[in-house]
Symmetry: C2
Subunit: 200 residues, 2 copies
DNA sequence: ACTTATTGAGTGAGCGTTCAATCAACAAGG
DNA sequence: CCTTGTTGATTGAACGCTCACTCAATAAGT
């Protein structure tokens, strides 16, 4: 449906309220009245958009993928898959990001997606904890929210804050992020190890 | 200036385009025409808002604070200060977050703030690297963007996604985040250490 | 012939903004 | 002390424009 595509793009650029039916019709090369042949209202377009470009099924799919041999590999793959999903639905993601401010429906949808992401990945992390691969004192929720947070932040900065904030290529982001979250920033050798222990 | 306060709140709730002059006037208990006694236009209110509630000076101030004895303490303090700054300017932060979608001026301001944050904290991290306290292979930019990203994400979720996404108390967030980023999630003991080395 | 797609004019509401009129406070002059 | 003048604050009606939406008429497809 061309109308929906055009709307997604315009909503992501000008916001819902800042986009008129005329804008959308013009982008599609049709008369404004035609929009109402297919949709009941402007809000209906947004609803159709949200439904058509649902994140949840794809998110669940990504997170249901059988884990790799190591936590590092698993997270690396997840991060790439997530970035890719966001890119596929770029305009949708950007639009919803902007709209969550004023639209309770959008808030609900975003909330559900994020909560699912947190839940599923936390389960995986807890399993790894049980196997002794991760720290006992690791807070899975903090980990997950930091992980997803960094990916989203980078994605949005990539598309909305450039050229004011430098773009980090996904490859560099994913590798750097996974390493940072798994191994930390502190230098492992002698004195730092001493210090680490006194903190715990 | 009461008009600006009211506008900030409304912009953060309904967006710039979704907020009318009538809305603002009503919230102030004055007639719509009075707004134009003080401001040239609706956009002028936004401009005044951005100027009045500038983040940059405060951000610079926070980041110019002399570091603490350890990286952990320094980052902990920074994170709390940042959260506090966001809370003080809650409506401003939320409004700008929503507006960056459609307003180049807002993008510019946000971009500048973030870039400054990245620059200043990266400098600190690089200094710590030189002293051997942090890993040689640490990417400061990834660290910083993950750090700030997690704080912002949590802040916005706190205010916009609740009750769909659980709120993490700032104290838990800051402690969990700093620990995660410094010490990582991987269990330090024997087998995990072996695995860690084969990866590098 | 019938159905679907499409148009463009029109409608009423809402919007940002203007502005003449009014009011209140204060200062200056008689 | 009273009156007049000035200034800033405030109002609500009005203006021109935009907006989402409607709909009769026409075109296109089967």
């Amino acid at each position: 449906m061309q109308i929906v595509e055009a709307a997604a793009k315009l909503f992501s650029e000008k916001g819902f309220d800042g986009t008129s039916i005329d804008d959308i019709a013009e982008a599609c090369g049709v008369a404004p009245g035609l929009i109402y042949h297919y949709f009941d209202s402007k809000a209906d377009i947004l609803r159709a958009l949200i439904e058509q470009k649902a994140f949840l099924p794809k998110m669940a799919e990504i997170l249901k993928t059988p884990p790799k041999a190591t936590v590092e590999e698993t997270l690396t793959e997840l991060a790439y898959a997530m970035w890719e999903m966001l890119e596929e639905r770029r305009e949708m993601a950007l639009m919803m990001h902007g709209e969550m401010q004023r639209n309770p429906e959008v808030v609900k949808v975003i909330g559900r997606v994020i909560r699912t992401g947190i839940r599923l990945l936390s389960e995986y992390l807890n399993a790894q904890k049980s196997e002794g691969k991760l720290r006992d004192d690791l807070d899975p929720e903090i980990f997950v929210r930091t992980f997803w947070g960094a990916i989203f932040e980078s994605f949005f900065a990539h598309h909305k804050l450039s050229p004011f904030v430098r773009r980090i290529p996904p490859k560099r982001l994913v590798q750097g992020l996974v390493r940072l979250l798994l191994y930390g920033a502190i230098n492992p050798p002698n004195q730092s190890e001493l210090k680490g222990e006194s903190k715990r």
